[in-house]
Symmetry: C2
DNA sequence: CTGAAAGCGCTTACAG
DNA sequence: CTGAAAGCGCTTACAG
């Protein structure tokens, strides 16, 4: 009776009751409109409409009546119709690609929660295959979002170009914009890289290595720049680099294997993000039987929730996500008020969180 | 120069260049409309409009001309205006709450990718604090999504009620619907629970325990029912139950601690999902120094990507996510064609994936 | 302070 | 096969 592994066989239950048993008119029911309200209240549609806007001139008594009745019958203005007039959809489009990196769900979570709280709705576009990316963004833009947030490390320059063409402001979250038309909100990745270098060097490490993520990701580039620059400033030779495909567990694992299986292995590895670092950690411990941090120190970046799990207890740089989200919201609010005196690039310092994967090198 | 941990201090760079330097009219640019097209082509708006619909009567020559010119100047019909007439927004609303469980980003990923490929856009509502949940769903519905997908284990009955009230079909993904107005697409969780029981009992385990997730989650209830029923069927007493707060790492950790620190600890623990199981695993190994599976076997449910990482290599039940997504798409397509002869509840068998966290009990 | 009218960008009977 | 007209549900000058 127990299905075999890999057996995706289909079990359809309760096929018998179908939706055709349900009264057909329970779908496509007529929606309540402003006309209904007006008729029921004996007012004009103009007046009813005005009740929903803080700064339109209307007797407060009248407004109260309208709002009360609206609440009773469950009416609310149709934002699609409204958008036609006001040119504001109260939609913010979020386009993302790396949704498998837990940092992004976390960011998406906070972002959309905040956005909802000021009555914005988020339209989500996930782009994995670059094939459909162009289509997806085109469709997104056809809904005329008030602003687009690019939630990804990679460039998506096509997306921001398309936005600029139709005049939609774009906010790059967690990466610097490549163009000069977008706003950017990021962690100070270069500073983060420097902090890691200092942390490691202060603890006596001399042979350092870097496990890279996507080479076209601004986060990857900046973290590397800060890290390597600081190493050189402090008299070390530039760290070795490994990896450079994607930000995945598998890549971190493979890169660490390459780095650590040779006799002249590095004393410490800085990985471009936590997922890579966790892969590296598993490679070191599970596959090679090395002790961390005794045999090698490992550092990540992001501080995703898994970084603090006891199996990993990873030393990492924490992204100031809360602050980043807050400032994004301010940016959105400002943009809606046509306040263009906003900083174009905002970077926030992360914090080095020391856990168990870095230690002191003997004799230092 | 290195900031201290916890120091979220703000660094604003490039404050100097502001968006006010950018020509103001680069925002709020006039959009191209059907009228522009009509004028430029010397046709009526009706004709132009018809070109965009497969089954409207129009000379194929004319259509070709329109579509070509539209592509050139980057015109596409405004779905908001269109929706006003057709009553179809081509929006599907997805409401989710457990976005921190990696199973959901994965599902969201596949779902939105598929949806995009048939020209639907997804409007995402994340509900953490139940406070705003009602608001969020109300706002979502005001955009008149064609269908709403409830992507969560918990009941969200408020959400599905609200949908029914306005006549919007709802699909429950990964849980059985509580009401009779919704469609459901799930893994056969009860069968999965039975499979785990068989797996464990076949390997000689007799003292079994269950680490529960949210008690109001259908997944939790069904997995438990299958598991405990099968245990009893095979002559065991009902397993002990622990936990029952949320589906989190921390809860799995705490529950396993409770279960395992007593001398009469169970021989095997089935956790309601992988995140709980991974927490349990860490508790057993890291905190209590137990060997898994020698001292205790641990099984999860979902088969999220972390389950296959070497640090965990968790035995678990794999959800047939691909199939579930496919059927959801068929359901959506069917619903759009007013085909109500669709099965109300579809459940699919998962597959037990045996990795390293379950073994044979001595002497069996 | 309120109402009648025009119009946002579309689609769709209805004539021709 | 094509066009003129009405209308989707709203907002906003413009009069009063």
């Amino acid at each position: 009776m127990t299905p075999q592994p890999g057996d995706d066989r289909l079990i359809i239950v309760e096929m018998s009751r179908k939706m055709s048993d349900v009264p057909a008119d329970s779908y496509r029911r007529r929606r309540i409109t402003v006309k209904d309200l007006a008729r029921q209240l004996g007012m004009s549609v103009s007046t009813v409409s005005r009740a929903f806007y803080k700064d339109s001139v209307i007797a407060s008594e009248t407004r109260k009546k309208v709002l009360l009745h609206a609440a009773e019958i469950g009416y609310q203005p149709n934002p699609l119709a409204r958008g036609l007039i006001t040119k504001s959809s109260r939609i913010v489009g979020i386009v993302t690609s790396d949704i498998t990196n837990p940092f992004y769900p976390e960011a998406l979570n906070q972002l959309s929660e905040q956005l909802q709280s000021i009555d914005f709705n988020v339209m989500l576009v996930v782009t994995n295959k670059s094939r459909s990316q162009e289509d997806a963004v085109r469709v997104l833009l056809s809904y005329h979002p008030d602003v687009v947030i690019l939630l990804a490390t990679t460039l998506l320059s096509m997306a921001s170009d398309a936005c600029r063409r139709v005049g939609t402001p774009v906010i790059c979250f967690n990466r610097r914009a490549a163009d000069t038309h977008s706003f950017s909100i990021t962690c100070d990745n270069e500073l983060g890289g420097r902090m890691v270098a200092d942390h490691l060097i202060d603890r006596g490490h001399r042979q350092l290595a870097f496990v890279a993520g996507r080479p076209d990701a601004a986060t990857n580039v900046d973290r590397w720049r800060g890290f390597s620059t600081r190493c050189v400033e402090r008299g070390l030779s530039p760290p070795r680099v490994m990896g450079g495909q994607v930000f995945s567990y598998e890549d971190g694992y493979a890169a660490a294997l390459n780095l650590l299986k040779t006799p002249d292995r590095p004393q410490a590895i800085f990985c471009a993000n936590d997922i890579l670092a966790i892969g590296a950690l598993d490679a070191a411990r599970r596959e090679l039987g090395l002790a961390v941090p005794e045999d090698v120190s490992i550092v990540g970046f992001d501080d995703i929730s898994m970084a603090s799990w006891p199996s990993y207890a990873l030393t990492t740089v924490r992204q100031p996500l809360r602050v980043m989200v807050e400032r994004t919201m301010e940016l959105v609010r400002g943009l809606m008020q046509k306040d263009l005196s906003q900083p174009v690039l905002q970077q926030f310092a992360g914090a080095l969180v020391e856990r168990t994967t870095t230690g002191f090198v003997d004799g230092s």
